[in-house]
Symmetry: C2
Subunit: 376 residues, 2 copies
């Protein structure tokens, strides 16, 4: 019931099919910021490859890169991690999978605070781990209820997956909530898998699970969003040495290591905080534009605070996210993601503000006429 791949797939498939037929599809279902990567980052990659960094390498990542990543995290969160607390991964999805594998055996349980990126349900299933859903609601601003977290912990879960800032809701958890979740997890030593890949997007503050001082945290980060480097497949995890070492063992078994030249690209990126500024400011502009336009059209949602998604209630007369998306794609070639794909939130739909303003403007126009034609 939790896994909604079929609906996701059918709807993504529809958009692709229409695109192949030459229809002017606007994709609002992906999380890939349409911002070009800084050429300096590409140059660093090229110089690295040209100078011979094209061989097998250390499974956990280059020592120098892990050191810089540890410093980066320590500076930001006032922590004291060493390179041995870091593993470099080909994207953060696999980092999530490796964390799941490191923390739970088949048949054991892991909780997740939903709505959450549907991939997590699929990763848990692949690992043979049972998903325990901690549901939240629009009415409570998508903030998890402490009692519900407590219940999950009492059910013997090995870890709790929390995506903060959240995809799809763009909600940022407060310091108090983050600390409360860590504290409840701490009652039984349960790990928190903190997917914090949107850490640079909150406009207000951001409080990381790493800042709680709770020891059993596996934090996941990525270069995809902050540096618009989705296509490089570069992420990393920060955790205690035991977990990092188990994640590294699996990583080496599957891939050997992340290409050295991609790690050098990441190293250069870390030296350019202005790139993050540029990407986040661009995405704020797009998100504000989309959110305010959708609000004018009558959509209800918690205003996006920490990511570039608008997670809105499905308007009448549609009865589900899937139904709404299917009709919108078929009639107007605009393709958002149904809430079904984020843990069965069928009353919602996620719009990504990843495209440029001109494309978003066109998308909003089409949605407007779509609503009008259906008596909205």
């Amino acid at each position: 019931v939790r896994d909604e791949r079929p609906i996701h797939y059918r709807i993504f498939g529809m958009a692709k099919e229409l695109e192949r037929e030459g229809k002017p599809v606007i994709h609002m279902e992906f999380g890939d910021p349409y911002v070009e990567v800084d050429p300096e980052i590409v140059h660093s990659m090229c110089m690295s490859a040209l100078s011979g960094h094209t061989h097998y390498s250390q499974p956990a990542g280059l020592d120098e890169f892990r050191e810089r990543l540890a410093e980066h995290v320590n500076k930001r969160f006032s922590t004291s991690f060493s390179p041995s607390n870091v593993v470099v991964t080909p994207g953060s999805k696999i980092a999530g999978y490796l964390a799941i594998r490191a923390l739970a055996r088949p048949g054991e349980k892991i909780a997740l605070v939903s709505p959450i990126w549907g991939v997590y349900y699929a990763l848990l299933r692949e690992a043979g781990v049972e998903a325990v859903d901690i549901r939240t609601s629009f009415e409570s601003g998508w903030v998890p209820d402490e009692e519900a977290v407590h219940e999950a912990v009492e059910r013997g879960v090995k870890a709790i997956i929390v995506n903060n800032p959240n995809n799809p809701t763009s909600v940022v958890l407060s310091r108090e909530v983050v600390r409360a979740v860590a504290e409840i997890a701490g009652e039984r030593g349960v790990y928190v898998i903190a997917d914090e890949v949107y850490l640079d997007f909150p406009r207000g503050g951001f409080y990381s699970f790493l800042e709680t001082g709770y020891e059993n945290v596996v934090a996941l980060y990525s270069f995809s969003k902050s540096y618009a480097m989705t296509g490089f497949r570069l992420g990393y995890a920060v955790a205690d040495e035991r977990v990092i070492s188990e994640m590294t063992r699996l990583l080496q078994l599957y891939f050997t290591n992340v290409p050295e030249f991609i790690q050098h690209a990441g190293m250069r990126a870390l030296e350019m905080p202005w790139v993050v500024e540029r990407v986040t400011r661009t995405m704020w502009g797009r998100t504000d534009f989309l959110a305010s336009e959708l609000r004018r059209l009558g959509f209800e949602f918690v205003y996006p605070q920490g990511a570039f998604y608008v997670f809105a209630k499905v308007p009448s007369p549609w009865r589900s996210g899937a139904e709404f998306c299917e009709a919108l794609i078929r009639e107007k070639y605009v393709s958002p993601a149904p809430g079904e794909g984020f843990g069965g939130y069928s009353g919602f739909v996620r719009f990504s503000a990843t495209a440029g303003i001109e494309v978003l403007r066109e998308a909003v126009e089409r949605i407007r006429s779509f609503l009008e034609e259906h008596g909205g």
Copy 2:
């Protein structure tokens, strides 16, 4: 019993430790050809990344690349695969894992013809699949016995993994043996997972499992060896659409896709057959040098025909590959791989001829004095 990671690890760990202490370690335990990648290939990658191929992409690989790969295979093996029979993977190890996952469920069985790269035992265990070992012997030239293959098939295995040309023995199976294995597998419709990443190294002919016409073949290939592109992590698999589609589903779940710019590097490589010529000729020279020198030192082995490894009997007085390797590393800083790591062949040791001739010459000198000091 089959998985010998601990021994492998302890011995690799020793070499690393001595290297950190500043000792002049010669690595003969890895399969990374020390040949520089063609700069043209790197340039293609850079141009691709600079022109914006830095976003999420098709999970199975770029249509154009899959088309070229299908053509490449079809031209070489007179087959008629289409792009939908190809999936591009980050290395061939993960391709092997995805094939295993696509063909067998936890608790089911897969056979492997050994000796074989130890990673396969670990991948099977990760997938929860039971390994059924089809053992071969030095005396029979490391060629599998048909009766043994038949017995494995009768035990209800879902697939047979055959690495041909073989790592660690460098043996190339004849057309007759390949056809016989395919035929026996065909009796029960069992899949053959044909790891053919060394396909370009045989000096004589090479007959692929794809040439048998047997439908249930998953063939694994890589740019690592033929193009000296180990650090790019680029491989691909060829199989029927059902298997490719399941492998793609898992690949997308784990990694999204192989970076487009790395696929463009691979596309350029395919246009440069002279690179393969250069790499293979270089590696033949090194392999011939090492093999003839080791033979002069009295080592016994099947002469390498299709890869750059010498899989030799452990000389007396050592009683196992692990014991031999440990002593050689400790006393002479030369680090081969013990036969234990290839399916428990403890009477053997694998020397890689991956380094340049000068380094190999030094390695041989050290091995000579090592044998002399131990009364050889």
